[in-house]
C-alpha cells in the first residue's frame, strides 16, 4: 500500500476534525451549513480513498451516495430554508465560543482515549486515529445540540453525529453491508425533511426558530 494514501487519509481525517471545530467556533448559521457540506465532502473523499485502497465496489457506491445526499441535498435544503426565512445568527449560546472550543478539545481527547482502549488490540494506527476522530465527531455533535438554541443547529448537530457514525463505520468496518448504509442515508434524508417541516410548523406558530421557547412542558 503506498504511503501517500496513509498521508492523505491522515490529512482528511484531520480536516474533518477541523471542520467540526469550525462549526463549534461560529455563530453564523449559513457558515455551519457550509462547514457541514465541506465535512461531508471530506468524508466522501475519504470513503472514495478507502474504496480505492480496498478495491471495494460497495464503498464507491456509498461514497457517491454520500456525496449526493450529505454534500448536496441536505445542505441545499437547509440553505434554502434559511434563505426563505432569513435566519442569520445563532440567537443565544449556552457556552461562549472560546469555552466551547476548549470543551470540544477535551471531548476529542476523551474520544482518543476511548478509541485507543476500544480497538487498539487489533487495528492499525491509522484506523485508531480515524475512528477516534469519528468518535469525537459524535461527541461534538452532541455538544452542539446541548449548547445551541435553534432548530437548524439541532438538526446540524444530529447530522454531525450521523457523519461521525458513518465515518466510524467506513473506517473500522468497511465490509458493512451496503444495504445498511443505504437505509441510513435514506433515514437521514427523511429525518431532516421531517425536522424541517416541524421547524416550519414551529416558525408558523411561534414566529421563531429558536428553541428557547420550548419550555412549556415541564413536570
Amino acid at each position: 500500500m503506498p504511503l501517500y494514501i496513509y498521508v492523505l487519509e491522515d490529512l482528511l481525517v484531520a480536516l474533518i476534525l477541523l471542520s467540526s471545530f469550525v462549526m463549534l467556533s461560529s455563530r453564523w448559521i449559513s457558515f455551519y451549513i457550509h462547514a457541514y457540506g465541506f465535512q461531508s465532502f471530506l468524508i466522501f473523499v475519504l470513503t472514495l480513498v478507502l474504496g480505492i485502497e480496498s478495491q471495494n465496489i460497495d464503498l464507491y457506491f456509498v461514497a457517491f451516495l454520500t456525496l449526493f445526499v450529505r454534500t448536496i441535498i441536505v445542505p441545499y435544503i437547509l440553505l434554502k430554508m434559511i434563505k426563505k426565512f432569513n435566519i442569520k445568527e445563532e440567537v443565544k449560546l449556552i457556552v461562549k465560543i472560546p469555552l466551547s472550543i476548549i470543551l470540544g478539545l477535551l471531548l476529542t481527547v476523551f474520544a482518543y482515549f476511548l478509541a485507543y482502549r476500544l480497538i487498539s488490540p487489533f487495528s492499525p494506527k491509522i484506523v485508531i486515529n480515524a475512528s477516534s476522530i469519528a468518535l469525537s465527531l459524535i461527541f461534538i455533535g452532541f455538544f452542539m445540540i446541548i449548547s445551541r438554541f435553534t432548530t437548524i443547529t439541532h438538526i446540524l448537530g444530529l447530522l454531525v453525529i450521523e457523519n461521525g457514525i458513518f465515518l466510524l463505520s467506513v473506517v473500522i468496518v468497511p465490509t458493512l453491508p451496503i444495504i445498511v448504509e443505504l437505509v441510513v442515508l435514506f433515514d437521514i434524508l427523511v429525518t431532516v425533511v421531517a425536522m424541517l417541516i416541524l421547524s416550519m410548523f414551529m416558525k408558523a406558530q411561534t414566529g421563531s426558530f429558536s428553541t428557547t421557547m420550548l419550555n412549556r412542558l415541564v413536570g
Binding site: 452532541f142 445540540i145 446541548i146 412549556r216
Partner: protein, 702 residues
Amino acid sequence: MNLSLLNPLNYYYLFLIFSAAGILVSFLGLILKKLKNNFVFSNILYMAASLTAVSFSVIAFFKGGNLLSRVLYLGSFFPAGGVVLKFDALSNFFILFIFAIFFYISLYQIRYVKKLGSGINAALFAFLYGVMLVSVYFVIIAFNGFVFMIFWEIMAISSFFLVMTKHYIKGTKKAAFLMAVITEIGAMLIIFGLMVLYLYSNNFNLYALKDAVIPGYIKEIVFTLFLFGFGAKMGIVPLHIWLPEAHPASPSGVSGVLSGVLTSCGVYGIMRFGLYVLHPAGSALLIGTIILIVAAFTMFFGVLYMSQTHDIKVLLSYSTVDNMGLILTGLGASLYYKYYGLYGLSALALVASLYALINHAFFKSLLFMGAGNIEHETGSHNMDDFGGILKRMPVTGALIFIGVLAAAGIPPLNGFVSEWLNLEVVFLGFHISGVLPRILLFGVGSILALSSAVAISSYVKLYGLTFLGLPRSEEAKRAKEVPSSMNIALIIPALLSISLAGFMFLYTPVFSKAAELIYHINIGKNILHNYIFIPYYSSFSASSPVYLFFVSILLLSALYILYKVIIKPKKRFVDYAWTGGKNIINPHAQVSTLGFSNALRVMFNLVYKKGSRAEVQNKTSQHPYELKNPFPYSSYYHNSSGYGSYIFPLIEYYLYLPLIRFFEKISSVTTEVMQNGSLNLYIFYIFFVFAASFFIIVLIPV
C-alpha cells in the same frame, strides 16, 4: 353426586350458585336501567348464599370426621401451582361466623341503602358487595398462597370501593384512599412473606409451605411480615389510622362488614399463615414477644383515642383497634406457651383469642348497624347532637344496649367472657419459666385491664349521651323507629351475643376444634365440665359464665318479684327529684362528649398532644398535607365555642406526616430536575449517560 341435604359439598355449590346469581342480578341492574328492585333481589340472594355457607360449616362440625376436612382440587394455575381449596376446622369456623354476619348485614342494608338516595348507585353497591362476599369466602378456603393473595386483593379492592360509596361527601375519598394505602402496604408485606417462604418450598401450596424446612430467623422475619401485613387489615398500631377514617365515611352496613368481617379475615390470615403454616417452635418466643408488644400498643392507643372522640363510628372503630389488641394478646400468649412446651395452655390461649374474635365480630357489627339506625334517622353520627334517642327508638336502643354491654365487657354477657378468658390466659403466665416473658405477659395484662376500664367509660359515654338524657338537636327530636327489617337484622347478632355467653358450651367444642388444627391437641374435653369452664388446670380456676348468666337473671327476677311483693312501693311520676320536682333542666347543660372525657385528656396529655384553640391556627398552617384529624377542636360545653381543646394523634403526627412530606419533597425535587423543559438538558442526559458509562466500562476491565 350425593344430593342429600347433609352433604356439605352441595352447600358449597349452592353458595356459588346463589352468590353468582346475586352478582349477576346486580350487574344486570347496573347495565339495564329498567331492572327495578335489583338491589333487593341481589341482597336476598346474598342472604341465601350466606345461609348456605353457614349451613356447610354447621353440618361439617356436627358430622365431624372426614367431612370436617374437604379438599377440592381445581387444576393448576400459573404461577400458583395446584389450586387447592380446603375446608378444615379453621376455615369452617371462620365461615361460620363471618357468613352469619354477611347474612344479617345483607338483610340490614336492603332498607338502609334506600335512604341514601340517588347519590349512590345501588346496583353498583350490590355488585361490589357480592364480589366482596365471594372473595371473602375464597380467602378463607383458599389453600394456596397465591390464590389466597388474589382473593385477598379482590376483597381489599371491593371494600375500597364500598367505602367510597358515599363519595359525594367531603372526606370520603380521603378515607377510602387512606384505607387502600394501608391495606396495600399490608398486602405487599404479605406477598413478600409468601415469597420468602416460596424460596424454601418452591410451591405456593399450603401443604408445601407448611412442610418446608425453614430456618428460625427466616420464620421470625416472615412472621413479622405477616403480622404487619394482616395487621394492616385488622388495624394494629401503627397501621390503624385508616379505621377511624374509613368507618365513619362508609355506609353502616359496610362499616359492619369492615369491622366484623375484614378484621376477622386479618386474624384468619395470621392464624392460617402465621400459626398454621409457619408453626413456629423455636422462634415462638421472639414472635410471641413481638405480638405481645404490638398488642399492648394496639390496646393502649386504640382505647385511649377511643375515649376522646365525639363521633359514634370513630369511637367504634377505635374500639375495634382495642379489640384487635385483645385478640393478639391471646395469640402472643399461645406462642409463649408453645415455646415453653405447655401445649394445652397454648391451645387454651388460642381458644381465648378466637372467642374474643367471634364476640367482637358480632357485637361490633351490631353496634355499627345500630349507629347506622341512628344515622338513618338523624343523618349524623356526632354524639353531641343526640340525646334521648331511646325514647324515640326504643327497639334500637334496647338492642344497642345489649351490644354496649357486650362490648364493654360487662358480665354476664359475652364480652365479659372473652375478656375474662384472656385475662386468665395472661394470669396463667406464671407457668412460664422465663422471667422476662412472664413480666411482659403480666404487663400486657395490666394494659388489658386499663383498656377494659377505658372501654367501659367510653361505652357509658356512647350510650348515655346518645340514647339517654334529653335531645340536643332538632334531628334527634324528630327521630323515630327505623323499618323493622333493619331491626330484625340487629336482633340476630344480639341473640348471638347472648348465646355466646349463656350457651357457651355450644361454642367451646368449635373453638377447640379450630385450635386443635393448629396445636394438634384437643382441649375440648379438658376445659368444660358440667357447664363449668376450667382454664386447663382445675386448681387454677374454674368459672362458669353459663351459670353466672342464668343465676344472675334468676336472682334479678327474684329480687324484682320480692321488691314488688314486699315493698309494694308507691310510685309518683314527677319531674326531677334533685330540682325539687320542677322541670328546669336545660338540655344543653348536659355533659358534652369532651366534658365527659376531658379529665382523661388532661391526665394523659403526653399521649394526646392536646392543644387549645389558639394553637389550631398555627398547627394547620404548619401542615399543608394534614391528614384529617379525627379529633378536631371541640368545646367542653354544648353551644359554646369558648372553652375547648383538640388533640392530634401521636402516631399520625410523628410517623405519617414526616413520611408524607419526605416523599413529596423527593418527588418534587426529582421531577423538577429531570423534567425542566429544556431540550438541551435532555440531550445532555443522554450524552452524559453515554460518556459516563463508557468511562466506567473503560475504567473497570473485564
